[in-house]
């Protein structure tokens, strides 16, 4: 199983805000193999969720995918689109960004599915869980019956239908078959008594069960690629362990590919075959799990691992990374290694933006850091105050780029991109 199912080349996603252009994802390359679990780990504001949403085509204004290609391997899709969009086809691959929106939308659910962080806000609280699953099933069924037209799908949901369904309970499920499939799906994700649970509303579910139901909904269309964006962040540890077991088990049974986005290194270690570490919109280090956890080259990866308190041993002092996640505002980003201002091993060479180097370990191991090529030399180190005030641990203030990104903490999305000056150079 070594064929790539997804090839992302040179993807850039930007947000055009009143504070300036924000480079949430810049020139990102990604190869995901069929049947693997690929993890993206990073702090809030590193661009990991935006990457996921770009793949899903869920970027909304003021965001925009400004360049790049997303090649998706699917022979059926190739056959379907090669006449109309010859430019978008290359062998068995289709460039999703070349396809029109409605076609891309029809891939959602059947080829790509996504589960979100917060199950409580991802369900409609006025419909039963069973109905919402049946709805997903129904959309998939119509999509596969009538793949090219997206209009036909909405025709059956008329206003009359809606009104009827609010008075007649028998009308609530689109069809008996979809109801049964919904119950099957609930059973598949390990919800006890799926028959009873299907008729309950989301508020009657616990957080863990809702997350299971969301996984069921995502799997309704038997997708090739499941994008899981912080699937367990809102859950308690005992429930998190259950949900991770479930995902692992489902992946094994269906052979689907999972792109797992998380800030939790433990979850990455538990689930992933390969992992990419994101920082400031780029993957700074990638490789097999062992490469990144044990043989890491990039000082950021080291800092990230050093920041996690050890559960097995009582703590020495933690080794945090000084400073904060950088601003991603275009005007503030110099053409250098974006981590250099926080890096304990910054050298003169780091003032040039590094390419990805091969970095020992397995042949998949790459790092965007000159240390992969040369050893650290004190003599060439940048003076400690080279970046001025920004070096002072957390004493500076950086813009919080999270306004444009739903990330780890929901509260963060409310915070404002700061524009009141300070240490801007």
């Amino acid at each position: 199983m070594t064929e790539d199912v997804l090839r992302v080349n040179d993807l850039s996603t930007r947000f055009f805000t009143t504070e300036g252009q924000i480079n949430a994802v810049s020139s990102l390359d990604l190869r995901i193999e069929r049947g693997e679990i690929f993890g993206i780990v990073g702090e809030s504001g590193s661009g990991k969720s935006v990457t996921a949403r770009s793949v899903m085509n869920l970027i909304e204004s003021p965001g925009e995918i400004t360049s790049g290609e997303i090649w998706y391997r699917n022979r059926d899709l190739v056959a379907e689109v090669e006449d109309d969009y010859p430019d978008a086809v290359d062998g068995e691959f289709v460039d999703l960004l070349e396809l029109p929106d409605d076609l891309r939308r029809s891939l959602r659910g059947t080829s790509f599915s996504m589960i979100f962080q917060d199950p409580e806000s991802s369900f409609n609280s006025t419909l039963t869980v069973g109905e919402q699953l049946a709805e997903a099933v129904e959309v998939q069924r119509r999509a596969s019956a009538n793949p090219r037209s997206t209009r036909a799908r909405t025709r059956e949901y008329s206003l009359g239908n809606y009104l009827l369904s609010s008075v007649l309970p028998s009308q609530r499920y689109v069809s008996e078959a979809s109801r049964e499939r919904a119950i099957e799906l609930l059973e598949m994700v390990g919800i006890p008594d799926p028959v009873e649970r299907a008729d309950e509303y989301p508020h009657e579910y616990s957080g863990g069960m809702l997350q299971r139901a969301m996984i069921a909904q995502a799997l309704a269309g038997e997708p090739d690629v499941l994008v899981a964006d912080e699937p367990t962040t809102a859950l308690d540890v005992t429930i998190q362990a259950q949900v991770l077991d479930l995902l692992d088990d489902l992946q094994e049974r269906t052979g689907m590919t999972i792109l797992l986005i998380t800030h939790n290194l433990g979850v990455i270690a538990r689930m992933c075959d390969r992992v990419g570490v994101m920082y400031a919109g780029e993957i700074v280090e990638r490789g097999r799990l062992e490469d990144v956890f044990d043989e890491h080259v990039h000082p950021y990866t080291e800092g990230l691992l050093g920041s996690v308190p050890d559960l097995e041993r009582a703590g020495d002092r933690l080794q945090p990374i000084p400073g904060n996640v950088p601003s991603l505002i275009d005007a503030e980003m110099d053409d250098r290694c974006y981590f250099a201002d926080r890096c304990p091993k910054a050298m003169e060479t780091c003032l040039e933006h590094p390419p990805e180097y091969d970095a020992g370990g397995s042949d998949r191991h790459q790092a965007r850091c000159v240390l992969a090529e040369i050893d650290y030399e004190e003599g060439r180190a940048l003076p400690a105050d080279y970046f001025g005030d920004t070096e002072r641990p957390a004493g500076d203030k950086h813009a919080d780029p999270d306004r444009t990104e739903d990330d780890v903490e929901p509260e963060r999305t409310r915070s404002v991109v700061d524009d009141s000056g300070g240490d801007r150079r």
Partner: protein, 433 residues
């Protein structure tokens, strides 16, 4: 560290929140329902130590923290701070307590007033308690900001100009303004990224050494607890199930819940995928109607069968789960069996259909084969369900399988590392004799 008089002594603290308690509910004759957020917890916090309070969401750890600071009025119980009963304090004594005990909240985004500059925020406690002259207060604010790693010339800025980690530092500076002895840290780092979390944890460590602070750290993150606590109390559904020195809790957990918690945390190492994990099933029950006896028994992987019953733990678990569902009447009998199921006449399945009904129901509710003697009892109970006889069905099971875990509430002992679990009863009793 755990010698001498405790600074804070919590005894049988209870905090219930009441539902259906409005005047309208009273007029309609509805009984108020207590939500037992904190249900009789006792612990001591000694001077200079950090006690961790760990548990899943909804277990009452934050409520316990707020109640012992008297930010909530308790339903019952006592809290002594420096040998004074906190709930009896009034006047200047209460004011003094408010100065000596401070709190840092979880969410640095909503716990700072967006319309005040950070200078004003940190100075506010000084103003309220009228400490020193205005000039000295300003000086103190600068000092505090510098101490927590911010720059003093930032004091005219507003909270929104700071990142999460910096705001949490502001919250800490505010809590330190009055030179308290005791700090309740309510999930101080759970809204932060790991690298920033590490900075804040290191800061808290330094401050404790520098100002002789005593901490109560409330957290759901076991690795944070392990990192900075001296002793740990594990809470489940409003009760403390185990308390002891941090090493003992992590190396030799006694309570099955503590074990399960530790097992569930994914480790950030490459061995993680191969690690043998024993996770627990099910969700935390509602604190409105907590299980009798041991509250963890509904999920416990080590629940104790009666002495005279020989049974495999997994089979026992399955039967206990079934019994609970019968007690909750949480099985829809109408949908048993293929298409349309069985016909219920006057709430009962006809005599001829009975064996088929029992078999169909059994495959649905029990997902493993039971040993013959237990199979028999289960079938007997399910046969009662065929005539919608829920109570009889539950009785059949409970008369045979009632566990000590549901009859008696396990007590938390007095020794240095007690666990509230019947598995450890014997040891305790033999010590007493």
């Amino acid at each position: 560290m755990s010698s001498g008089q405790p600074l804070v002594r919590v005894e049988e603290l209870q905090k219930y929140f009441w539902e259906q308690d409005s005047i309208l509910d009273r007029l309609l004759g509805a009984e108020p329902v207590p939500v037992r957020a904190v249900d009789g917890v006792s612990f001591d916090i000694y001077r200079g130590e950090t006690l961790g309070l760990v548990g899943e969401s909804g277990c009452g750890k934050s409520t316990a923290g707020e109640t012992l600071l008297r930010l909530q009025e308790p339903t019952d119980g006592h809290v002594e701070f420096d040998e004074h009963d906190v709930y009896e304090l009034a006047g200047s004594e209460l004011t003094e307590f408010r100065r000596d005990a401070q709190v840092v909240f979880q969410d640095p985004f909503s716990s700072l007033d967006p319309r005040m500059t950070i200078g004003e925020i940190v100075r506010q406690p000084l103003d309220v308690h009228n400490v020193d002259t205005v000039e000295k207060r300003r000086e103190r604010v600068r000092e505090l900001l510098e101490r927590v790693g911010l720059s003093a010339d930032q004091l005219d800025r507003y909270p929104h100009e700071f990142s999460g980690g910096q705001r949490q530092r502001i919250g800490i500076a505010r809590a330190l303004a009055l030179e308290p002895e005791f700090l309740v840290l309510d999930e101080p780092t759970s809204a932060l990224d790991v690298s920033v979390q590490a900075q804040v944890l290191n800061l808290l460590d330094e401050l404790q050494a520098e100002f002789d602070l005593t901490y109560l750290l409330i957290s759901h993150d076991l690795s944070v607890i392990r990192h900075i606590c001296d002793r740990v109390a594990v809470m489940y559904l409003g009760e403390i199930v185990e308390i002891g020195p941090v090493e003992a809790i992590f190396e030799e957990p006694k309570h099955p819940y503590t074990e399960a918690l530790l097992e569930s945390v994914p480790r950030a190492t490459t061995d993680e995928r191969e690690r043998d994990r024993e996770t627990i099933s099910g969700d935390v029950p509602s604190p409105r109607d907590p299980p009798s006896g041991c509250r963890f028994r509904t999920r416990c992987p080590k629940v104790i069968p009666p002495d005279d019953v020989e049974i495999d733990q997994e089979e026992y678990r399955a039967i206990m789960d079934l019994r609970e569902r019968i007690e909750r009447r949480d099985i829809s009998l109408e949908s048993v069996g293929e298409d349309g199921g069985f016909e219920f006449v006057d709430g009962a399945v006809s005599e001829t259909d009975l064996p088929a009904f029992v078999t169909a129901l059994k495959t649905r509710v029990i997902d493993r084969t039971l040993a013959p003697e237990h199979d028999e009892v289960v079938e007997e109970a399910l046969a009662e369900l065929a005539s919608s006889n829920w109570e009889r069905a539950a009785d059949v099971l409970s008369s045979r399988y009632e566990s000590v875990c549901e009859r008696r509430r396990p007590e938390l002992g007095e020794e240095s590392h007690p666990a509230a679990c019947h598995l450890h009863d014997d040891a305790e009793e033999s010590i007493r004799r």
